[in-house]
Symmetry: C2
Subunit: 308 residues, 2 copies
Amino acid sequence: MSAHDEFSRRLDTLAAAMETALMRELSATPRAGDIARPERLMAAMRHAATGGKRIRPFLVVESAALFGVDERTTLPAAAAFECVHCYSLVHDDLPAMDDDDLRRGRPTTHRAFDEATAILAGDALLTLAFDLLAHLDLDAERRIALVALLAQASGIGGMVGGQMLDLEAEGRFNASKQALSHSRADIERLQAMKTGALLSAACAAGAILGQANEADRAALARYARALGLGFQIADDLLDAESDTATLGKAAAKDAGRGKATLVSSLGIAGAREQLSALVEEAVNALAPFGARAAMLQACARFIAERER
Amino acid sequence: MSAHDEFSRRLDTLAAAMETALMRELSATPRAGDIARPERLMAAMRHAATGGKRIRPFLVVESAALFGVDERTTLPAAAAFECVHCYSLVHDDLPAMDDDDLRRGRPTTHRAFDEATAILAGDALLTLAFDLLAHLDLDAERRIALVALLAQASGIGGMVGGQMLDLEAEGRFNASKQALSHSRADIERLQAMKTGALLSAACAAGAILGQANEADRAALARYARALGLGFQIADDLLDAESDTATLGKAAAKDAGRGKATLVSSLGIAGAREQLSALVEEAVNALAPFGARAAMLQACARFIAERER
């Protein structure tokens, strides 16, 4: 089997396991300590947590696997990262934010339910992420290290801050409502926060789970940085070149909003070139791990070549 | 000095210390690991975290003080609880939720900024709460126990779930848009989740910080349960009897929405009687602690007698 086929098979298997884990976690049956579980809230959370490529959980599980950690241990930690990703999509899709009707080929949570329910479902998914980490079957040191990592990556200086910069980059808050001109460094910083931080943290979580040494942590961090930037360029290329039916969400939104992206800054050919270089950088960063890193390397190639 | 005066003095001192701690935490200067701190986000978070009675931090600090834990240790943990409270107010005030213009006598966060910024500021405050707990100067066991406690109290089976039940109780999601009739048990359950869970968790946090034994934890839990229910009855009485200027937020909202509360269920006189009984219950629960519990006991009386 080629590395790509093996990767596809593993990603599918992980996605199915993740779906099962999340749906079990989001069942209507109250857990110990819950006063009650409102059914409408649970249904909205399940809607928000269904589908998706499950890239972040894959990164957690495969990074931990580099150090021999079993998937039974890493899956609940991976679910926490996916909860944060799903919550961010629910809130980003809200009318006051990106105002999207479609996500993963289905109605966004506020369209399937209503805005108030979507806000609360997002809040509850974010809270659940930390709940999951707190209850991992691991020593307290690693659990609290994962909490610190996830909070940092998803908070002010990471994902939420990146979303704020993204709204500002659309020119939403300046009087003329004109998109601001942004340097390539500005755009890269925005993307490093908005999408890069959580992807990097997913890889760093694997290193924490596996009690990796400094050199291995640094190699994974180099991989994750290149992967994150490549991921965003691939996303921007898809937005520029794909159509809504293929994408499962609205296409050509960036240009419609006059938004500066790495594609608008580098041009399509330049962006493709940059993307190839980043994939090579990601692949090379993991060379010290030898054949054990084949799945993470295939993941970097997949991200560059994906169609949605 | 009477217990009440001493309580007022301590609450004022704690509120000032909390304000300082939160404003320092929410400064524009990036912390280690932050890629950047968007100024608009920080300003909105500071707006959301300014003012308030700081009851939850007071409960954390004073509960921990029962076991001799110093305020320097407990203040950052108390700040985490206040961050969760503040985030919940920001999201609850949103147009899609309670649609409020006024909070603590000032414009709500989405009125002072905009809806998108308010959603993100709330998300970032919730995330920051777990960040603060992860970095407490304490052993990992107590830090992770606090994370588990706060996540449980503020998530599906606690605060967020309670807010969902509250929206449902307004009849928002049934076709006729009529408020549902709710039993007193239903209303108590809703309140136990929406406001009781976080108040109880604040007291339980003090017990964790102080490594309390089972009997002391149980006594604090009894106090917290009575305090939480009393707090909500006092809130409902204020909504029914006060005016917007005194309250610093819109008054008489519950009746306007045809919402069932313990006041509409028990009547004003019945609610006052129930409130007195709950204050006595709270005070008596702490009898085993003797004079050390005087501040928490005064807090229960304050909550019943407050004017906003």
